[in-house]
Symmetry: C2
Subunit: 237 residues, 2 copies
Amino acid sequence: MLILITSGGTTENIDQVRGITNFATGNLGKLIAERFLMANHDVILLTGRGAVLPEPHPKLTILPISDVADLLAATAKWTPEADVFIHSMAVSDYTPVYMTDFETVAASSDLEEFLSKSNTEDKIASRSDYQVLFLKKTPKVIASIKKHNPDIILFGFKLLVDVSKEHLISVARSALTQNQADYVLANDLTDITEITHHGLLVSQDAIIEAHTKLEIADLIVKKSEETYDQHHTRHNR
Amino acid sequence: MLILITSGGTTENIDQVRGITNFATGNLGKLIAERFLMANHDVILLTGRGAVLPEPHPKLTILPISDVADLLAATAKWTPEADVFIHSMAVSDYTPVYMTDFETVAASSDLEEFLSKSNTEDKIASRSDYQVLFLKKTPKVIASIKKHNPDIILFGFKLLVDVSKEHLISVARSALTQNQADYVLANDLTDITEITHHGLLVSQDAIIEAHTKLEIADLIVKKSEETYDQHHTRHNR
């Protein structure tokens, strides 16, 4: 199979010297890539800046991704060719539109005006004590995957912080439906340590629990292979 | 001499999953550290996340820095003991105060109210198409250095983007006075490539030009040693 994996985090530039980064080590995406390579599959890894990377491997292609626009272009290109898509990347929900002094914003009679502005300077300077940054929602990458390839086996990820197990499962189930995902790996930042990583692999009819990154990676490899075989058998019946 | 060097960039958290990062590879700070080590000096490197690091060395201590608050604490601790301070880190000018929906901000009759709010959630969620982030100025780390140690030899850095040489020098001269710096290394992002790095080492009475990171590093080592010797001779006269 050809496996498309995203890892690390995206960074949306504010100007040329700073940006909004989604924190992500890339550890889980790296491990998932390694386990698929060990199972003799081809892997394309789309990865954010600063993420940890697997060692070079003849069946591995690594493509660097900076922001959501990059990621959209890369997924549009590679999704039609892939059998499995594993979206473990921390993707920015919002991207900067315009940044200016607080005083300028406070003096405006209609804040909508700032939503259509953009900064022309390369490095936004300010002497003001406060600044205001306007941001707009980014397109949801995962929602576009099945449109590019209805047959792809799609794994989404949901990372929440300090919520109940029930809430985590309910959010994962909504994500399944909303993104036409086959599986959603739901996890809580407070349940992730250096050595443990508690995760729930949620599908329409089951929830499977994993306790380490390695268990999560192996579970994803196993479910990908099983689901691929099911599709394949069905198609050839 | 004991040399305190900052490198890389700071990251100011918005919430637990994202933050505003100042882009910086840490390449120049790493090289400056290496050249001081080769000249047999002791080096403490305060370095931002993701920055490149020198190889371990018996005279090198590396201390990780995440945000401006971290950097202020570390410089307050180490500046009194150091002979030279080289501030090559890209430090965040502003830090997040509060983030909320655009609609909430647009409906407010007094935007000042948001400057005293803070987010209580671990991961700020939003369904709104637009969000607004209020930021406040961070304390200037470099302005505090001579207060901690009036005798320290202080190198500041000014990175601008696509400005004239005259403007670069004038900004560097202001920084010299404002921060009581002995030297300011002024550079323009558009004059930095993989192999060249154009920089001007500006002091009250001279401007010295360098063309690569190595030239900049060696110039800083030389000027540090010369200035230290001058101070020392004067004190013992």
